[in-house]
Amino acid sequence: MKKIYFLIGPIVFIVIWELVYLSQIINNFFLPSPQEVFLSLITLFSSLSIFLDLGITAQRVFISLTLAIIIGFPIGLLLGYYEKVYASLEVLIDFFRSIPPIALFPLFVLILGIGDSSKIGAAIFAATLLIIFNTAKGIINTKKTRILAAKLMGATKKQIFGKILLWESLPQTIIGLRTAASFSLVVIVATEMFIGTYAGLGRRIIDFQYIYNVSGMYAVILITGLFGFALNFVFIWLEKRYVHWYGK
């Protein structure tokens, strides 16, 4: 019984959507019926080209997230370990974290050109700062008793780092990764709507908007949402599998 609860929300959502459509509170041109959007989904998937868009967007998100982890995770660990260094950089990190990455996209285009590099660069920028911040916070918030206990056991700094701090940082790091993955997707899809791309979910959404294929546009938005949902699900799974102690 419990297993079907997750279906209730989406079903209610579709019913409300249908009711709003039927009542015509919103012009039907701007809000097509769920059936129309569903038919557009089938058309999109049967044409196969949507798989290219999905694949390209996924590839860009994957590359930016991987590079963000490679850059952000070690920096976050170091900043968390050397609290004074983190304290001296905290204002800068918070400042850059507060800049909407899309606002920096023109700068990235200027430096990296209009190809994939600028899109991935903007996503790396957004994701890296989140990973640095969360990893560092994970280390800084380590329970002091654990460090004291390890010190009394005669642990070296390296042992304290490897056996305590690294593990303590994991729950917060995973939270950072989840947020970073969502942010990467947001930035990639948004930048795909601008210039310099031949494929991608963002490109497809904006193309459908230009030609007033509204149900197609909703269908691609749905696919984008489902992709983001799946991405989030992967991190929830990782959290349950590898950070099993979190919240217990």
């Binding site: 008793t145 206990a149 009394l152 056991m153 056996k163 593990w167 099993h244």
Partner: protein
């Protein structure tokens, strides 16, 4: 008599406030010493100084063989000191791992603990254990490397009475087998009298030693001991000292 710890004029201040004032005493080797005193009088601070966790103090103290292999500490917030990402087995063997014991030596030590009745599901995690079991796990981890000196901060405070008595029993078994020097803080006079050879009663802040009471009852002190006249006599002495220095002042 061989002393394990010698304290001379120990003093601790937090800013202008003097927390510990002129503590001079000795703790004999292979004995259990309980430190009792009112809340906030600096019992944990004293233990932190003696264990080397707090180096900002006045006066002096010496510990014979003060290396980490010979000293262990059980924290009051034992739950926080356990590592939830490690299985119970990996938790209790952490000190041995840190000190570079081989897998065979580690397995032997775990077996030794099992023989003392300190046994856990090795593949479970500490967050699946009850409070009493977690405290027992923290205790096992603290004693697995057979420390010569064991500091314990309010070991039984979070336990129900049944688990409290069980842990006292384990502590005595361990003490009788390995004869370490144990210094424990407690606010429970019954625990202090049940377990200790010497009970140090501390005063209110600025904390001084109000009285040291000796308890010569032989070990093991079973539950019948708690009903004996001998127990009540010592407990009454401790209570009087506590009353004189804490309640009346």
């Amino acid at each position: 008599m061989h002393f394990h710890i010698q304290m001379k004029d120990l003093e601790k201040r937090y800013g202008p406030e003097k927390i510990i004032d002129n503590i001079t005493t000795n703790i004999a080797k292979n004995t259990i010493t309980a430190i009792v005193g009112p809340n906030g009088c600096g019992k944990t601070t004293l233990l932190n100084i003696l264990s080397g966790l707090d180096n900002n103090y006045g006066g002096d103290y010496t510990i014979k063989s003060p290396d980490s292999n010979s000293m262990s500490y059980i924290f009051q917030n034992y739950r926080d000191s356990l590592l939830p990402w490690r299985t119970n087995y990996k938790n209790i063997t952490l000190p041995l791992e840190i000190q570079g014991y081989s897998k065979k030596e580690i397995a032997d030590k775990v077996e030794e603990m099992k023989n003392l009745g300190l046994e856990f599901d090795p593949n479970q995690y500490s967050y699946n254990l009850s409070g009493g079991q977690q405290q027992m796990l923290a205790f096992t981890r603290a004693v697995i490397n057979n420390p010569k000196l064991l500091f314990i901060d309010e070991p039984f405070s979070a336990l129900d009475y049944e688990n409290n008595l069980k842990l006292r029993d384990h502590l005595q078994k361990y003490y009788l087998k390995y004869k370490p020097t144990i210094v424990m803080i407690t606010h429970n006079l019954e625990e202090a009298v049940h377990l200790a050879n010497n009970i140090i009663v501390l005063s209110k802040k600025p904390t001084r030693i109000a009285k040291i009471i000796e308890n010569q009852a032989p070990y093991p002190r079973n539950l019948d001991y708690l009903k004996s006249d001998e127990f009540n006599k010592v407990k009454s002495q401790v209570f009087s000292a506590f009353q004189d220095t804490v309640i009346k002042t």
